[in-house]
Symmetry: C2
Subunit: 616 residues, 2 copies
């Protein structure tokens, strides 16, 4: 397996040449104090080191050995032991201050914007998704706490989550309630003194129990006895594994225990726990019955992160596949004249189908990274901006969060499968590491809301729910970009090969959005039938926009249009040529996927819904 190399050049290209993150930071007072180009570059470099040197090396063993569960001596619940090396790696990680990266500066956080932390998440996940989940879920819970927790809760818990002394879990799912959280049964009884007694059982709790930190802070969805039915009766509670005294010292164990862990297809070094709350002491986070809203604060951040997990695994798979393909000799190039044919086989890089798989992976990975950067930027505007900037950032990040989650994980899984295929039989053997990436990437299409749920969130709640206004804002943005490029006398000619198909794709996205808005007035099943395909049409079109932008910047750099002595502009000609070639590949061979999807959407919902259930 190739050693993981963090794609720092690509990240810096995106930050400073494509999305002008430095200008954004200067624009936003809340950010300009925390981050500048120098800081961000240093953060990413340091993260690359830890990901490459500390985390990537433990991933294979983590998969083989996994987490183990043993019952406590008292027989209630049990302990989870992480795989060899995880505790050491986590300590190094925490001591480096990484748990504070995106945290609230008032409680010891570093206040880094998403546009930086998204890249940190990518590197951690490329190194080892299992490891990365512990700090990523902690950061997600901390975000919710920072936004909705009382001052007291924040002072007592946030600081210790940021320091990495403690970690956190998010306890949503119950065995009968996954996508449908409105029907959860976990109860919260108000107690004297303002706390609550939490009773219920949660499943699929990532990092619910482990030995990496001395305390684990659970954020738990539960209902008061008199709460309204459905999602409007859900509240959010903070339930520590070990009770924390007023002075911050750890006290006795709370009545929460890990009942068992799941044996899974992948992410074997991540503890997926059944968590039992038996009258555990909990503290309300945010307002009563507003628990889902508190969770969704975190979810937008999380869901983009989950999308990035898919791409991160695919990036690792690509690096492995490329190394293998260059090294492996099998068969001969087709276009050699017979005099050139020696008895020695060529590297499999000569085969069209191997190039197809590698280039598809490359185009999807770089496209997903760029698009995630674009969405992260919108999220940063939404979080730190004001006025129109904030409003537009809010709209675009809200609209594109389900896209990021589902589209990047679908492409990411496809790419890990392609990367496995490049290795042939070796791709199926565990010791080569490629198949682990397939298994690890697969979960990202399922958790944090299945990709089917994401598609409905996008089309039903956002596109239809806003009567088309949200998608129009994206379409207008791309339309403006197209106009600007067509009017650009210097690059318009060279950009024609990208702008023309982008314009076609955008028109089709606009048309199909209108079509579905109209259909939704008669029959909502049309939305359920179209959602998945619509999400992908949107995804391929948005990725075309982002590839056009990358091509444009590359053309400008190659043409010396942007002369600068900044070393960032000196990635060298190969870097930009590679971008241009990959953009061409994307437009020629990947963007056409939207054609089939459009045809399928237009076929309507009747073939899905007229067949009776007993005929399946």
């Amino acid at each position: 397996m190739a050693e993981y190399k963090a794609p720092l050049t690509d990240m810096n290209f995106l930050l400073y040449q494509v999305f002008n993150a430095d200008k954004m930071w200067q624009q936003l007072p809340q950010l300009s104090e925390q981050v500048d180009q120098e800081t961000a570059i240093a953060i990413l470099q340091e993260c690359a080191k830890i990901a490459e040197q500390e985390i990537a090396p433990i991933a294979r063993q983590g998969d083989e050995i996994g987490v183990s569960f043993s019952l406590n001596s008292e027989g209630v619940g049990g302990q989870v032991k992480t795989a060899p090396g995880y505790k050491e790696a986590f300590n190094t990680f925490a001591q480096g201050g990484w748990c504070a990266l995106g945290g609230d500066i008032n409680y010891g956080g570093m206040g880094m914007p998403k546009i930086v932390s998204a890249f940190v998440e990518e590197m951690l996940c490329s190194a080892d998704i299992s490891f990365a989940l512990y700090p990523i879920l902690t950061a997600g819970a901390a975000l919710s706490l920072a936004k909705h927790g009382s001052e007291e809760l924040k002072e007592r818990y946030l600081t210790r989550l940021y320091s990495g002394e403690w970690s956190a879990s998010m306890c949503l799912t119950e065995s009968h309630a996954g996508s449908d959280l409105g029907i959860i049964k976990t109860k919260a009884l108000p107690q004297a003194g303002g706390s609550y007694e939490i009773t219920g059982s949660k499943i699929f709790i990532t990092g619910g129990e482990h030995d990496l930190t001395e305390n684990i802070i659970h954020l738990v969805l539960a209902k008061l006895p008199d709460a309204p039915d459905g999602p409007r009766g859900i509240s959010l509670f903070l339930v520590p594994k070990i009770i924390v005294a007023e002075n911050g010292n750890l006290g006795k164990k709370n009545k929460v225990s890990c009942g068992s862990i799941e044996h899974k297809m992948g992410i074997n070094a991540s503890a997926t726990c059944v968590m039992n709350f038996d009258g555990a002491q909990g503290f309300l986070v945010g307002e009563l019955n507003k628990g889902l809203a508190c969770m969704f604060t975190m979810m937008n951040f999380e869901r983009i992160g989950v999308g990035i997990q898919g791409m991160a695994a695919a990036e690792r798979s690509y690096q492995n596949a490329l190394e293998y393909a260059k090294d492996r000799r099998q068969g001969k190039a087709l276009n050699k004249s017979s005099s050139e044919l020696s008895s020695k086989p060529d590297s499999i890089m000569v085969h069209g189908d191997v190039r197809r798989m590698l280039l598809s992976m490359k185009a999807f990975n770089e496209g997903s990274r760029a698009l995630s950067c674009y969405i992260a930027k919108q999220l940063d505007y939404a979080t730190y901006g004001t006025g129109e900037l904030q409003k537009k950032g809010e709209t675009l990040s809200t609209l594109m969060t389900p896209l990021a989650k589902a589209f990047f994980t679908d492409l990411g899984f496809e790419s890990t499968v392609a990367g496995q295929q490049v290795l042939g039989g070796h791709g199926y053997i565990r010791e080569w590491g490629q198949e682990q990436l397939v298994r690890d990437a697969r979960i990202a299409q399922i958790y944090e809301g299945t990709n089917g749920i994401q598609a409905m969130d996008l089309l039903m709640r956002k596109v239809v729910g806003s009567k088309g206004t949200m998608i129009k804002i994206f379409i207008e943005e791309v339309r403006d970009y197209i106009k600007a490029q067509q009017g650009n006398m210097v690059t318009a000619n060279a950009m024609g090969e990208f702008i023309e198909p982008l314009e076609n794709a955008l028109k089709d996205l606009d048309d199909v959005s209108s079509l579905l808005l109209t259909k939704s007035q008669d029959d909502l099943n049309e939305i359920g039938a179209a959602a998945n395909d619509y999400l992908h049409v949107f995804g391929y079109t948005a990725m075309a926009f982002i590839w056009a932008k990358m091509a444009q910047v590359s053309l400008e750099q190659l043409n010396g249009l942007t002369n600068s002595d900044d070393e960032l502009n000196e990635y060298g000609e190969d870097f930009y040529q590679s971008k241009l070639h990959t953009a061409r590949y994307y437009f020629a061979r990947l963007l056409p996927r939207r054609l089939s999807l459009l045809a399928t959407i237009k076929s309507g919902s009747h073939t899905l819904f007229t067949i009776e259930d007993n005929l399946f």
Copy 2:
């Protein structure tokens, strides 16, 4: 996990209502003595029982425990122990005579045609691919031996392979030589007495060592010292694990040993072995330097079987997903008025995206089963027919073998992933069994020639290699069918919805075939670039043909056009309505996939080949 139910009704529908297997058998003297409708029905029923009751129950444990390897006491090589239950199941299987199913009747075989044995393979693989591989590889090796082995070899070995006393392996791959067998290094030295001394090391040998049978017969590709370079210097040898005396008694151990076994993504109960030959005694099979041809005899049969493995896993996944979807309640139907909304969630069958996943699986599984039946029929004509029938069967089965292998395994893998997705988080948990099907199905896209190799076999060797004559024969067959349907006064109206898009798809297949033939004259890289997409265009079109046929038969049955008191015609209205609905779903929502593929092919090869390797 749902209990596996073999799809016997669908199989009989295909055999007797769609493909008129009974008429074929009567037509072919070699078959009419072995098989008739009654025999075939009994065979499939008995196979269903053994698959459902003996094999399916051992699959989960087989995955968890897998095969284990321990060194022999003398330190040379080692022993492989199969998972609990495998030996008992294999004994039951062998004692039932199943190892003889497709075997040569002159040596104790039952001489069943592929159109029957393909369904047997499907049921075995739905139950447990790991188990099925032991008899399936044995049958493949036996086929090669029956066709190319000397009388002596056949009498000594074939009979014992058919009885299930012994099993077989096929030893092709070496660590540096997988797809490219021309560069193998295993040597064969001629010995006095006519045998050979075989020396070399083979990897990825399925069933190379195990404890199911008292002897294992290896078919080994090797080269004589003076053999020509490349594939034309390869010979095939039979190398028994234990030397067989002239009287058939087992003698001393041959110099062949299992060096280790692989730890894999899936098919964990199938032993994948490194086999070391250290001057082992071997016997030539067929002519010297014609070893590859001898192997390819078996490969056409095998590759269709590997295609069926993909579909078989997908069938199992569909059954599980359907049971789960009907049982699982989560969320509400979109199109209910608010008065109908109770607090109780609906079954997830109400959600469009769940229906999409299930119907895609159903359409692909039934379509693949039908298309595999069509190809098996052609193979039977090729094997047992004469004159024009034989010639056409030969052409179509040769053309469509790579299609079957790659298309069915790609769709099969996609379907197992979809079936996993239907189960949400539970799909990722090992004990639910769905994720095992994903892991088990994955190998079928890789082994027996990767799907990329299959695509090149189809487009380069067959379509281009025959200057288009082979694909024309398929196209003419479909064109004739379309004409016949258009001229059918009774069903033409009802069939219009299928015939029209089929005609379009066929025209596009014809055009793109011609386009690629033309392009191939200038630049063979165009073929390498297009091969994978072309294979899928062909696949979706061929599947449309087969779905149209199934729809037509269903319409005829529903209209009472084929009145018969045969109980086979009385599957009931639901069966035919289900077929019709699924056909409509296929044409509306799956056949359009070809549009993107056509666009990609037409984009040409330059985006794949103009990018230098160092820019990846």
